[in-house]
Symmetry: C2
Subunit: 337 residues, 2 copies
């Protein structure tokens, strides 16, 4: 593949080779800059980003991608800190943590607060913690995150943890980019009260009850049984995996190795029955069709004639002067011209 | 509006005037034929159907549209029979019953079985029972049903009941074409066990526990309390309506007037606060955008160049040779040419 060698411009000081070499030479600063490039909405940045993704693609795919979610207060950051520390120190892993927080509008997002709870990971040479992209729609954030995975894998991270907030629709997006989906819960509250949507529980490959250090042991046991029962009500997974329920304390790190054991079991089982690879392929197809659909629709709605006509016709439809089906046909006929 | 006066062809013996006059003259046979026309996928039928809809539109909108759902065995048909009979005999209403059963592939659908349980409605001059359209995708069925509502209203039916099976995704479609959504349940089984998806309960304006004739009264009370509690966990409705829970027996007709009372209360309340009209306008917008989106995407995917290219490019994406985002861009670039 040929490298684009664009002349330097004011806001675009580096070419794709700069980023690609940096990633291959394991330069964390350049990786970070490259992700910033992915998140940029400027056309010239997008061009370089696209080329960079294609260059990194052959070096990607060799990590285990883990999604974690849970409502605010469940202890996601402290869990990831403890879990990541365990993986680095005991399993000799290299961890990248990417966060999605669509509710965050501030630059660098709410994970700045998180970073203070990820002291070890923030300073370890074997970890990379990336705040939530601040700009754009959820679709844009998800796209940037999925592309960041590719860069992180090409860099050499073998475990990617995607963190999300467990209350919005971002979980579906995350579930479509990870191999394993982990739901953090607290003991003693019904799932409705914890603000977790039923659909999210259905996605979980494991539910982990956090904060056993401060929770009554009986309540933890009860909650575990509650979730085991609840998971039984869902239809069986196509890959044959029965979601597990575990408990842990991110503070005193008890239960953390057990969580890792579940994930390695899952990996082994789905590797052996071919479902690991199958899921990745389905995810690639999903992203392809999602991207096509949103682009095709954007092309239509951004058409100046359509924009004008739609305003008028939408009013006619709302006022009951034209049926939605006839109106859509009129618009399509104009578009075809 | 001018009437199309197409020459008679073999499979298309009538022009739009024939159907429109028939509907205005309250000819049930012609109404039935007109709905068959809506369901046809032939282009010449679709042309007449479209014109017919536009002609009927000014005479539509004056009915109360009620959606009913529930799993097979909950007694939907017997409920609708008892409820419709009550409305005709006591409230002097004119009832049209339209059914959506996306699982039905046979011609005339499963409601043929239903019709035998709707003896009164099937033979009453003040009622019209229409089986589920048999052909096409769910989207097509939903489109035909929504258009059928317009014809039935132009005909003079003041109460339209849309029946659906409560297990698929058709409920979202139905919910987007009715004023009031009624969920039938049985006492004594958790909602999961009844196969009702949580999302469907969230849509319900009322939950009615059927078959009180054969159920233990205590169990019915318990179930009512269970559903009242469950409904409280959902966020409040924008229109201020608090979903009600009622019980009835479609066999001995106890509770049927109470269900009607709930619906009239709902109508009054939402009429007065403007939400009845607002919801209809939102529904029209929803159908407009749904129809536009599916047409725009169909146009893209049916393009012969795209079809060919997509096959190849999808393989590249699945094999990890190209990223989904780059692939989508290539397709779009070709499409623009």
């Amino acid at each position: 593949m040929s490298l684009i060698n664009l002349p330097l411009k004011k806001n675009q000081q580096f070419d794709v080779k700069y980023y690609f070499d940096g990633i291959q030479n394991k330069d964390l600063t350049i990786l970070s800059k490259a992700i910033t490039l992915l998140e940029s909405i400027k056309a010239e940045h997008q061009l370089i980003a696209e080329e960079l993704i294609e260059l990194c693609l052959p070096f990607s795919g060799n990590s285990l991608r883990i999604g974690t979610t849970g409502v605010p207060g469940v202890g996601k950051s402290t869990f990831i800190e403890a879990f990541g520390k365990f993986l680095i120190e005991t399993e000799h892993k290299k961890i990248a943590v990417l966060a999605i927080d669509p509710s965050s509008t501030k630059s660098k997002g709410s994970i700045l607060g998180d970073k203070t709870r990820m002291n070890f990971l923030s300073t370890s040479p074997n970890a990379f913690v990336r705040p939530s992209p601040s700009a754009g729609t959820l679709g844009g954030v998800a796209k940037a995150t999925r592309e960041s995975i590719i860069l992180c894998e090409a860099f050499g991270f073998d475990t990617i943890i995607i963190e999300t907030v467990g209350v919005g629709q971002s979980e579906t997006e995350v579930n479509s980019m990870v191999d394993f989906f982990l739901l953090l819960m607290l003991a003693g509250a019904g799932d409705e009260l914890q603000g977790i949507k039923r659909g999210i529980m259905e996605m979980a490959d494991a539910i982990v009850i956090n904060k056993t250090d401060i929770e009554n042991a009986n309540r933890v046991k009860l909650a575990q049984q509650h979730y085991i029962n609840a998971l039984h009500l869902f239809p069986a997974n196509e890959n044959g995996w029965i979601p597990k329920v575990e408990s842990c304390s991110a503070i005193n790190t008890s239960g953390i190795p057990a969580v890792w054991k579940i994930i390695t079991q899952y990996k082994e089982q789905t590797y052996n029955n071919g479902c690991f690879d199958k899921k990745r392929k389905q995810q690639a197809k999903y992203w392809l069709s999602e991207t096509i659909n949103s682009s095709v629709l954007a092309m239509f709605y951004n058409n100046p004639t359509i924009k004008l006509l739609l305003q008028k016709i939408e009013k006619d439809v709302v006022d009951g002067k034209t049926s939605p089906f006839k109106a859509a046909k009129i618009l399509l006929d104009h578009y075809k011209k």
